[in-house]
Symmetry: C2
């Protein structure tokens, strides 16, 4: 089935309209008419080859919301018309220990990413959600609650689960003092989730303006991290820190905010950090950890939670024709907090 | 009571004989005739002012073994003649949450170190174990099993507990693959303990010779950490890593050895590390942690375990008159694996 998309053909040129062929339906496949697709920083990194040369053409997009148009003969979980989501993964080995534990993002044989991944089962390379349709095995399709705003639910599939998973894994609970470091696509979801989990949420940012924005999202307090006195006042007081900063930075001032035995989890900076002082870990038995997106089961739990608590992302809608401009604005952090493509616009592409 | 010691009077001169006054016995005090005292790198760092200007004169020594000579009227745990130990702490607030949990090393009000610490309760500064006697409240005195070699037990009080505590805290158990990084005073105890706990122990070192030595101590395998092929072969395979390297170093090659969700704990490097790659934590939800000595209760558990399993340190005995030469050799890592002072030699000082 031919599908209209927007694709990158090399590191430097803008994304352009491009028609691909989606695979035909296998027994457990779900064929989805895409309605919305969030725009993640990973889309830019991949399209521009920041993480190594991709398999061009790249059709990015792994924050996908749509409706089921057709299902394979062995599909049991979905029926035509269901509102569904697809996140960062479309396959995994499903027989290793992490897959058995429902954390397919750590699949020992490597999960298949929603785009720019070799598809070991069906051949070829995967194409993502900047497209009219996608075909995905039902085990990697999520149910999206009908009561939440579908277009604002798209970023839950990556920005949402990336923050939800560590907050759950490190057992954030009512009464905990939780710091969310950095306010972007990830950070704004971190604030919303931690607040909904009952935590006392502190936005940790260099920017007074972002601090004010975070309060509107539900943060109880703001810590301006370039203010040494504020850092001192909050030293040794946090039960958990979620560090969403996406670039190289100095983690030392943040580590010193943690209580004894507590953890700061990195979800953004997949790169070398500034030198860290070992004493900050040793003197309070602190932990520095990392976390990668989330498993399918916990993504469903998150979506169900969002349905119950009416949580979605704050989004700015764009037509696919504006994707290249959106990339430029994202690089300047000029978006509150996630662009979402209205896939209807592809009809005119 | 006047007590012969060896003390440092400034950053550069050698330690020299010096007589101090020990406090008189309070109700819960235990008066100990010191028999042996281990020599820890902290002794050198403190005496030489590496960690800030100390309160000279400094009488170092926090790996103390001796016999009870006298007890205060309210002492219930010890009697005259008991073989006892004193480690890195002689007091803590005993009413904060960590103290309640038996992890006095993380006392929120700061524990009192065995030497060069302000003694908030009795005034003055504490003097350590390079001395004929020490007076310590019974709650900070340990029972040393009579069946182990007392002189070789001295380093258990610091090098021992510093490695024991994280191995226990991160629940090292039979069948785990545990890496001990670095073979010195700490590392050689790490090998012995991890082996006795039933782990498959891998000595991780840059030196073939140290690898061979580690095998004699009980290591099952050796990983030469400058060999890229060996690192690759062991990638993602360790359940726990105990990093005893005492200086600035690159943790990245070690982090990559950890399985999903597992921890590397630093116990040596109280200083800035080389830049760490965030992706090594994120991609496998790994943890980098630190740990500081150990609490009184777990130190006693360790000593009891050593009694049952006949574990002591490998030591080189010296007279106190050779302490300055011993310091020079320690700085060159020329000791297997701990110097212990025979305190009898102080009689001639």
């Amino acid at each position: 089935m031919s599908t209209k998309t927007y694709a990158a053909f090399n590191e430097t040129d803008p994304l352009v309209p491009h028609t691909i062929e989606r695979r035909h339906l296998h027994a457990k496949d779900v064929f989805i008419d895409i309605e919305y697709c969030g725009v993640c920083h990973s889309d830019i990194h991949t399209a521009k080859g920041d993480w190594g040369k991709p398999s061009y053409p790249v059709v990015p997009g792994h924050e996908i919301i749509g409706r089921v148009r057709e299902v394979g003969p062995e599909v049991t979980k979905y029926k035509v018309g269901d509102l569904v989501g697809v996140g960062c993964m479309v396959e995994s080995c499903q027989h290793c220990s992490p897959c058995d534990d429902g954390i397919e993002q750590y699949c020992e044989n490597g999960f298949t990413g929603t785009y720019n991944s070799k598809n070991s089962k069906y051949g070829g390379v995967t194409y993502g959600g900047y497209a009219e349709h996608i075909v995905v095995e039902e085990d990697f399709v999520l149910t999206v609650p009908e009561n939440i705003d579908a277009k604002a639910a798209a970023p839950l599939l990556c920005a949402g689960i990336t923050t939800w998973s560590p907050l759950r894994h490190w057992n954030v609970k009512s009464g905990d003092k939780v710091g969310i470091i950095g306010l972007g696509g990830l950070g704004h979801m971190g604030v919303k989730f931690a607040k909904a989990m009952g935590a006392h949420v502190v936005m940790i940012t260099t920017s007074e303006a972002k601090g004010e924005d975070a309060k509107k999202l539900g943060a109880d307090e703001v810590l301006i991290s370039k203010d040494v006195e504020q850092l001192k006042a909050h030293a040794n007081s946090f039960d958990f820190l979620l560090n969403t900063i996406p670039v190289k930075h100095d983690v030392n001032p943040y580590l010193n905010l943690l209580k004894l035995d507590k953890t700061m989890c990195m979800v953004g900076a997949v790169e070398p950090l500034d030198p860290m002082h070992g004493g900050l870990l040793i003197m309070k038995r602190r932990n520095l950890a990392g976390s990668l997106i989330g498993g399918i089961k916990e993504t469903q739990e998150m979506l169900d939670f969002c349905g119950e608590h009416n949580i979605v992302s704050d989004v700015e809608m764009i037509d696919i024709q504006n994707i290249n401009e959106a990339y430029e604005r994202m690089i300047k952090s000029d978006v509150k907090y996630r662009f979402v493509i209205d896939i209807k616009s592809l009809k005119n592409a």
